[in-house]
Each structure stands twice: as structure tokens, then as C-alpha cells.
């Protein structure tokens, strides 16, 4: 008996609805032709949990990726270019983003948690901001002086802007399957080489992760008695090893691309259509971005 929190197929409800071999009509964005008769319905996986979010069905997920990219970019630019956000602005923007996340049926808390990953990076930079202050003094005692005020505001600006941008981008990433994302970027005339790099990173990050995990297991199995310093050195070797392996894999991937007639241009096959909904969504977000900037 599956618990009430799970649907009849045993998947946790709310996050992920999945079509199975015996379902009558597909609720899912995958165009399924027919399924293998002898394969269990869940023979494939959806990779890491985060990538699975892109398969949710929601109005936001249905939007054209170009609309989403343009909107996200508009918000981020408005946030970054504008002055340090005031409380009302910050609150309004957070409310807007959370509303969009809810509309997209995303697990908001999970996305929020992930967005805090940017805090250590932004925080390190923000740490030095109070020391600079209006007068640009790097004096350590500057923390408490009148000059530090501007610095605290600068610190707030750095942190809040970084976090808002990360949250916006995360919503974009969670609502757009990577193939669509890359095609959207290509149609918006982002440099092809960057898109190619991104798509290879996406493709092989998991493979590299699996290799690192297996090497760490090997280290744990045989090197459990090492001192901290020696273990750290070992990880240095691991990093070097990963570099060599990745380099050689790159050579092999290139060979298989050549074997299939690669001439230097990666072809794409995504079909995108810009509908009225996309126009409205983009316009709304652009207006919001402008409001943020000008208010």
C-alpha cells in the first residue's frame, strides 16, 4: 500500500509526475513512441534530483526557452546594474521569484537551499566591502567608524544581488531542459562555442562525477589510515588523474565525432515556437525588471 503522500505508482507526489508503460494518455513532456515490452517502467533514471525538476509539467515549463532566458537575463541585469536593493524592492522581487517558482511547481525550499550555494563566494567578497567604505579606507578599525556605513551597504548589495541572480538563474535552470536551454541560447545568438562548451559540460559532468566517486571509494578502502596531510596530497593526485582522464576522453569523443562526419559545426534539432504566452511572459518580466531599475 503506497502512503497517501505518494501517487498510485509510488512516486512522491507534487514533485514529479511520470508516465508509465501502461498509462492511457501521457501526462509527461517526453514524446513516447512505444515502450519496450520486457523492460520495467522505470529502467531509466532522471539523473541527479535537480535535473529531474526540468521534467515537471507546469505553465512555466511550457514557455519557450528564449522567453525564459530573456526574462531571467532582464531581471539579473536590472538587479546587478541598479543601486543596492531597498527592503521593499528586495521583498517584492523575492515574492515575484517565489511566485514563479510556485507556479512552476518547483520544490521552493529545495531551490532556495541550492541558491544559497552562491553565498560563500559572494560572502568572501562582501566581507571586505565594509573595510572599504565611502572613504575607501582599508583600515581594520574602519568597521566601527562612520566611514564604514557605505561599506555595509556595499556588502549588502553584493550579497543580495548575488543571491537574487543565483535564485533567478536557478529557476531558469530548473524549468528548462538543457537541450531546450541550449537551443534557446543559440537562437538568441549566444556564441556557438560557448553553447558547445556548456553542453559538453552538462553531458560529461555526471561521468566525471562517477569517476571521482569511485576513486574516492578506492582511497577510502585502502588509504583510510593516512594522515590528513597525506590524504590531501592524494586528492591532489586524484585531481591530476582526473585531468588526464578527461583529456583522453576528450580525444576519444573527438575521434567518435570524426567517425560520424563531424566538420566543425554541431547540428541541433530542437523545435521551438514562440507563442503569445511567451510574448506576454517576457513582456511582464521586462516590465518588472524596468520597474526594479527605475523605482
Amino acid at each position: 500500500m503506497t502512503p497517501a503522500s505518494h501517487d498510485k505508482h509510488g512516486s512522491p507526489q507534487g514533485v514529479h509526475r511520470h508516465v508509465h508503460a501502461h498509462d492511457a494518455e501521457p501526462k509527461h513532456r517526453h514524446p513516447h513512441h512505444h515502450t519496450e515490452r520486457d523492460a520495467p517502467a522505470h529502467e531509466h533514471t532522471h539523473g541527479t534530483g535537480f535535473h529531474a525538476l526540468t521534467y515537471i509539467c507546469s505553465p512555466i515549463h511550457e514557455l519557450d526557452p528564449r522567453a525564459k532566458i530573456a526574462s531571467a537575463l532582464a531581471i539579473v541585469i536590472a538587479v546587478v546594474v541598479g543601486p543596492p536593493p531597498r527592503a521593499e524592492e528586495f521583498g517584492a522581487l523575492v515574492a515575484l521569484l517565489v511566485a514563479i517558482a510556485l507556479l512552476a511547481r518547483l520544490p521552493v525550499l529545495r531551490v532556495l537551499k541550492r541558491s544559497t550555494l552562491v553565498i560563500p563566494f559572494a560572502g568572501t567578497i562582501a566581507l571586505f566591502a565594509p573595510l572599504q567604505g565611502d572613504a575607501g579606507s582599508l583600515n581594520v578599525t574602519g568597521f566601527a567608524t562612520a566611514y564604514a556605513g557605505g561599506g555595509w551597504i556595499a556588502a549588502w548589495a553584493i550579497l543580495s544581488k548575488a543571491w537574487l541572480s543565483a535564485f533567478t538563474m536557478l529557476i531558469l535552470a530548473a524549468t528548462t531542459p538543457p537541450p531546450q536551454l541550449f537551443e534557446g541560447m543559440a537562437r538568441l545568438h549566444m556564441p556557438r562555442i560557448i553553447i558547445m562548451l556548456l553542453s559538453f559540460i552538462f553531458r560529461y559532468a555526471d561521468v566525471l562525477r562517477a569517476q571521482i566517486v569511485s576513486m574516492r571509494r578506492a582511497i577510502a578502502s585502502r588509504g583510510y589510515a593516512l594522515s590528513r596531510w597525506r590524504t590531501l596530497k592524494l586528492y591532489g593526485h586524484l585531481a591530476g588523474n582526473m585531468f588526464i582522464r578527461s583529456y583522453e576522453r576528450g580525444e576519444r569523443v573527438y575521434a567518435s565525432m570524426l567517425a560520424r562526419g563531424y566538420t566543425g559545426v554541431l547540428p541541433t534539432t530542437e523545435h521551438l515556437s514562440f507563442t503569445l504566452t511567451d510574448v506576454l511572459a517576457t513582456t511582464t518580466m521586462l516590465l518588472a525588471a524596468f520597474a526594479l531599475l527605475l523605482y
Binding site: P31, H33, E36, H44, S199, V253, L258, A259, G261
Partner: protein, 252 residues
């Protein structure tokens, strides 16, 4: 089976190749494969099977010797045409599934041939149906099981409709069920087949001709029935009898 009007599907003459560090990988390889033949390329690890395979579609060029596919000499000018006629399937499917979805991967080769979108679409679906994975088209390749990835890797090449198929260890690391699927899939193909493998049972089931390579040289070339039952020959070169041959001998 070679007659004047029928060019061999693959003709390698005097192929020699040395690695950048000087190690000689291939020494005087002569190999002629007729259209429609199914040849098993056998040999111990390090014999040069994989290196030899890379010569067939020009990814590696021999320092000495020539290669010709269906009568066309392999040169810089003809290499692209040859790659559309010779389908090479590598051992590690992760190296061959590099696009974001299975559809993109299978379409890649066909698109590079300059075919229009509808034709590419038709070929992708044909290829996916041929390997029995038509429902995986919109999924990212990395989320499939290993056996499925191996079959998709084959599909990526089938979409180019090659007349010659060259496979490097098609059954390595497959569980028995996946292995059975792969073998029956390969049996259903009618192109010229070259299979480099350690899997003696696969070679025995699939191929009528066997070529044994050791130390970069061809040491045996003949009917599979003769070569794969010669225990001494196989033993000398790091191989063994196919299980079904050994079983039938044990029964006697």
C-alpha cells in the same frame, strides 16, 4: 569471393603504424574483406586490434601502406565520403553519446551527411527501432543503462546507413540479457561486419571468417570453423576455444 567487378569492402595493404613514442603498433598488415562478409578480429590485449580499426575510416593514418573502402582509396579528399560508408562503433558508449539527447546523438551522423530534416528524422527513427529503443529518443543519453547505451551507440552509426560496420568489443561489460540482445541485433544486420572482440562465443555465433592479430601482425586468417577450433593456435595467442566448441569436445 573477390572477382574483378566486385571491389573488396575493405582492402588494407601493407599497413604499418607506430605510436608517437616509437612503439610499432602495426607491422605489415594485409587484409581484404569482401562485401557481406562477417569477420571476427581476434587477438590478445595490446595486439593492435583497436589501432587497426581506427585505420579503416581514416581516424589514424598509416605511415606506410594503403587503405581502400569499396575500391575508393583513403585520402584527405575521400575521407569524409568513406566515413559515411564505414560505421565505426567504439568500445565505450560514453565516448559516443556526447549530445544532449539520444535523438541528437543518433541524428548527428545523418546531419553531417547533409541530409534534410525529414530524411534525418526518418533515419533516426529507423535506427532506434532497429535497436529496439524507439522510446528513448528525447532522453539524455547518460540516463540509460549500459546495455542501452551500447545499443544507442550502434544506432548512431546505423543512421548513416553504412555498408560496412566495424565494431570494437560490442559485448564487453554487458550482462547476459543485454549480451543476448546485442548478439541478435548484430545478427539481423546485413552490412559487411568486422568485429574486434575477446568474446569467443560472439565471434563463433556471428562470423564465418576469423583473423587473428598478435604483436601488430596478422598471424592467422581463414574460416572461423577452422581457426576457432584450433586450440593450439588460440592458446599461443592468448585466446581460447569458444565455450560451445569446448562443450561439444568435452562431451566426446
Amino acid at each position: 569471393m573477390d572477382n574483378a567487378a566486385h571491389d573488396p569492402a575493405i582492402a588494407l595493404q601493407g599497413i604499418e603504424y607506430a605510436y608517437p613514442d616509437g612503439t610499432r603498433a602495426l607491422v605489415g598488415i594485409n587484409l581484404s574483406i569482401a562485401p557481406g562478409e562477417r569477420v571476427a578480429l581476434l587477438g590478445p590485449n595490446g595486439a593492435g586490434k583497436s589501432t587497426l580499426i581506427l585505420h579503416i575510416n581514416g581516424i589514424v593514418r598509416a605511415s606506410v601502406g594503403t587503405a581502400a573502402i569499396q575500391g575508393t582509396q583513403l585520402t584527405d579528399a575521400t575521407v569524409r565520403d568513406i566515413r559515411s560508408r564505414v560505421g565505426l562503433v567504439f568500445q565505450d558508449p560514453d565516448d559516443q553519446l556526447f549530445m544532449t539527447t539520444v535523438y541528437d546523438d543518433v541524428a548527428f551522423g545523418a546531419q553531417n551527411m547533409g541530409l534534410d530534416r525529414d530524411e534525418v528524422d526518418r533515419r533516426v527513427h529507423e535506427a532506434l527501432h532497429a535497436v529496439g529503443l524507439a522510446d528513448t529518443a528525447s532522453r539524455p543519453g547518460q540516463h540509460l543503462s549500459f546495455g542501452q547505451k551500447k545499443r544507442i551507440a550502434l544506432a548512431t552509426v546505423l543512421a548513416m546507413s553504412p555498408e560496412v560496420l566495424v565494431l570494437d568489443e560490442p559485448t564487453s561489460n554487458l550482462d547476459p540479457r543485454a549480451k543476448r540482445k546485442m548478439v541478435s541485433l548484430l545478427e539481423s544486420l546485413d552490412s559487411t561486419l568486422v568485429v574486434a572482440t575477446h568474446d569467443m562465443e560472439l565471434a563463433w555465433t556471428l562470423c564465418e571468417r576469423a583473423v587473428v592479430i598478435d604483436g601488430g601482425r596478422v598471424v592467422a586468417d581463414g574460416p572461423a570453423k577452422k581457426i576457432m577450433t584450433d586450440e593450439d593456435l588460440l592458446d599461443t595467442h592468448g585466446l581460447e576455444l569458444p565455450p560451445s566448441v569446448r562443450a561439444s569436445r568435452d562431451l566426446r
